[in-house]
Amino acid sequence: MARRREKLPPDRSKALVAMTVNGERVEAPFEPHKTMLEVLREDLALTGTKHGCELGECGTCAVLLDGKPVLSCLVLGLECEGRSVETVEGMAGPEGLHPLQKAFADLGAAQCGYCTPGFLLTAKALLEENPRPTLPEIRQALAGNLCRCTGYVKIFEAVELAAAWLRGEAAEPRKESLYGYDFDESGLLPSHPGPVGAVLAAAREAAVDEGGDKPRPYRAKAR
């Protein structure tokens, strides 16, 4: 049975945009008015990046664009052409969780967890620039991320702990893990596992199936 599509707007043509996502070169087809948040979640199946206010007032959609924290709800996908995007899915490596992720888990710095991806990436950018941040520097760097559960104290402590680990110091968590189990061994990693290439191959075919034009390659210059 044919799918109902009477509500679809007239122009559904997509652009094919080359960018690097979590170190993987991808060519993603998406509609030109989409924000990077929509592209990540809907076209690349990377749902680790959360949508909150969608107006730049909460910080949960933060990703790293060329290494700097930005809010993906206010960046056009097209504006990421040729650039490097890192999401929370890119933080854990083959050797396991990123020290920040482990510290957040160990210290209970995530409660409902909705703000966590934004905090992790913003903190990662901070520690790459400043391996030994003071508490005021941590607070300042994370001032654009809202958390409505933790009261922030555990988050700041987790960033301090991860910073020590990343400097190679054998720092111990100040408190016992509130989770009661080891996240490294749980296998509970956020969002989908493998590269996004396979997701995109399917999306390219689907775009044509749905009656849209074949996605055209997009290059950042005027027509």
Binding site: H33, L55, P69, V70, E79, A222
Partner: protein, 327 residues
């Protein structure tokens, strides 16, 4: 999801090309640099341009230079770059402080100085989504005819809320506007009009390309901002103050108030009070009282407007106090 409306997108690589595209697309086109003001407005359907012209691929707009003629900041320079610019920090610490008070760190990686200078005026009845505005009937700034702040008002009372503007004007900054007809440079204060809808004197076909700040030449400056939280919030009262002293006496001063009208307000009487006097308790108190007289905040931002008016004197006093200690 609160999605952007559909639009055509262009990413020109030169000012000339951007102006050419604008000329071709006409009134329904909008320039965008960081997008942190325009895109939320588009999501709330406060602005619905048919064409969006991105400025982030134009190298000349992303240039920040310090030289003998002062500081030249391209309109698409991200705010965080100004914060981290060594010479800007040394020459204009008050400007860098004001910039570092804008919104939040991720938004300062995106937002630009040009975007802040041209920031849309703000109002509790305007900065709402479409359904909210529809529910109480639209206001005159978008889709309606009445001003909900003061229903008898013939003009829109939305508030000039840019952190950078009062301090830039205090620092005697100038704006460079490019159009197909050529370029013009104006004192920054001439860019603004006290009307919440037509709050800029910039013609729609003009593109703000650069902000120029002359060398300090003996001027010192201070910026003070009132808001509820230490991050995120726009100012609900802002003071940019600069003085040039001869000996221990004030030779010239510039005191600007932000977020108390639809345009930045110059407190000329307060400046006159300071002329020829040392910056001490008595002169600062008199100048603060004179500044509070011209502050007429409306009931359309955070906090009570009466309290914001009352605080104007305090905040001007704090800014001048900074100068009496630091200058």
């Amino acid at each position: 999801m609160m999605r952007l409306p559909r639009f055509r997108y262009f990413a020109p690589t030169s000012v000339k090309e951007a102006l050419r595209i604008r000329a071709g697309e006409g009134e329904s086109a909008a320039f965008v640099a960081g997008g942190t003001d325009l895109y939320p407005n588009m999501k709330r359907r406060q602005q619905t341009p048919k064409t969006v012209i991105g400025l982030s691929r134009i190298p000349s707009l992303a240039r920040l230079r310090a030289g003998a003629d002062g500081l030249r900041i391209g309109s698409a320079v991200p705010l965080s770059e100004i914060e981290n610019h060594r010479k800007a920090r040394r020459l204009f610490p008050a400007l860098v402080h004001a910039v570092s008070e804008i919104s939040t760190p991720p938004l300062r990686n995106m937002g630009t100085l040009g975007g802040n200078v041209l920031l849309d005026t703000r109002c509790n009845y305007y900065d709402q989504n479409y359904e909210w505005r529809q529910a109480i009937d639209f206001c005159m700034k978008k889709d309606g005819t009445v001003c909900w702040v003061a229903p008898g008002s013939p003009k829109c009372l939305a508030v000039q809320s840019a952190d950078s503007v009062p301090i830039l004007i205090a620092l005697r900054a100038r704006a460079v506007l490019a159009s197909p007809g050529g370029e013009r440079e104006i004192p920054l204060e001439e860019l603004y009009a006290n009307d919440g809808i037509r709050y800029l004197t910039k013609r729609p076909d003009e593109l703000l390309t650069e902000i120029r700040i002359p060398p300090p030449d003996g001027w010192t400056a201070s910026y003070r901002k009132l808001r509820r939280r230490g991050a995120f919030d726009f100012p609900v009262l802002a003071v940019g103050a600069a003085v040039r002293r001869e000996g221990d006496r004030v030779a010239e001063s510039r005191i600007l108030l932000g977020a108390v009208a639809s345009a930045p307000v110059r407190a000329s009487r307060a400046e006159a009070v300071l002329a020829g006097r040392p910056l001490d308790g008595a002169s600062i108190r008199e100048a603060s009282e004179a500044a509070a007289v011209v502050s007429r905040p409306m009931d359309n931002t955070d906090f009570s407007f009466l309290w914001r008016k009352e605080m104007t004197g305090q905040w001007v006093g704090m800014a001048l106090g900074d100068l009496s200690r630091g200058g």
